[in-house]
């Protein structure tokens, strides 16, 4: 093969390799999956009002215990199925973790009717205009965020969480930061 032919062949091979890499990267992921950019970063601070007492809750004052934030709305069907899972986890593990529900794009009246009697182990917070939800990169409900004791956002579950996943994520929150599971919608 001549030198020129060799160069042309190598160039074509290089372009094809780059093209294949780009295609593999593109086809290898779900185009509807919204990336979770805040993983491993400090959780955005917030001050929200408790739905039951009206008292403000500030994230910056909650450090020291891992936090579970569950975003929900009364108009969201999957949230109804998920709600007992989070409520039971809050009652069982409330000594070691702090659980909060965050009302997303809902009226307070509907949220109160949905949540039922106030549960001190799982306080519900009102997020006016969903400012805090967008700060966290929420794309819809239900979504559950896991923040470690140092205030670092460790993981997110963007589907109705089941008891097994909840247990796994809670256990991971107690572990040192490392590779975390992928988010699946």
């Amino acid at each position: 093969m001549s030198r020129r032919g060799l160069w042309i062949g190598l160039s074509l091979a290089a372009v094809t390799a780059v093209l294949l890499f780009v295609l593999a990267k593109g086809f290898g992921r779900d185009p509807h999956e919204v990336p979770f950019q805040l993983r491993g970063k400090p959780a955005p601070d917030f001050t929200l009002r408790r739905m039951d007492t009206g008292a403000p809750v500030r994230l910056s004052e909650l450090k020291g215990k891992p936090i579970v934030l569950n975003f929900w709305a009364s108009w969201c069907g999957p949230c109804k199925a998920e709600h007992p899972v989070v409520t039971m986890a809050a009652r069982r593990f409330g000594q070691d973790y702090q659980f909060f529900g965050v009302v997303f794009e809902d009226t307070e009246e509907n949220a109160r009717a949905f949540a039922g009697a106030p549960d001190p182990s799982f306080p519900q917070l009102i997020d006016e205009r969903s400012r805090m939800a967008v700060d966290y990169g929420v794309t819809g409900v239900p979504e559950t965020y896991f923040i470690d004791a140092q205030g670092i956002l460790r993981d997110k579950v963007a589907y109705p969480i089941d008891p097994r996943t909840m247990m796994e994520k809670l256990a991971a929150l107690k572990q040192p930061a490392g590779p975390l599971s992928e988010v699946v919608r």
Binding site: V15, V34, A73, T107, S130
Partner: protein
């Protein structure tokens, strides 16, 4: 079952909160222009300005809040990309991996055009196939019909 399916649908498209109040016309135009550049997380290829989903409405409220706070357009785009990645932009910038997507087809086009141009400019080799033998060179045939035709053609 019906309630479950309805719930799934409504989970995406039934906001119960009204959107925030519009700003003055000039700033609201900026809000709408920025909203057109940001991808709705619950929709298929729609901007948050064009979607009525709850998530899009919440994001439009955030855009409005940031514009009201005096943030610049790049700052507002950065706010969303820092949370949702470049996925949030309907028209991602041509940099990094995105640059490859823009440049590769161009490189292939230029390379292909170059190859075609070279092929077109190359002189066509003179009759590579052997020329048909002349009448004089042809060996005489045993076929009387063929010989008669040749004799006729020579006349």
């Amino acid at each position: 079952m019906t309630a479950w399916v309805l719930g799934l649908v409504l989970a995406s498209y039934a906001p119960q909160q009204a959107g925030s109040a519009l700003l003055d016309p000039a700033r609201e135009a900026r809000v709408q222009a920025l909203g057109k550049q940001l991808r709705c997380p619950m929709c298929q290829g729609l901007s948050i300005a064009d979607s009525s989903s709850s998530a899009a409405r919440a994001q439009m409220d955030k855009v409005r809040e940031l514009v009201a706070d005096g943030k610049s357009d790049p700052e507002i785009r950065d706010y969303f990309t820092s949370r949702y990645g470049e996925w949030a932009l309907l028209d991602p910038p041509a940099s990094g991996m995105n640059l490859l997507v823009w440049l590769l087809p161009l490189a292939l086009l230029v390379g292909g055009g170059f190859a075609i141009a070279r092929t077109m400019r190359r002189p066509v080799p003179a009759a590579e196939a052997p020329a048909p033998p002349t009448e004089a060179e042809r060996p005489p045939s045993d076929d009387p019909y063929l010989e008669a035709v040749r004799a006729e053609l020579r006349r």
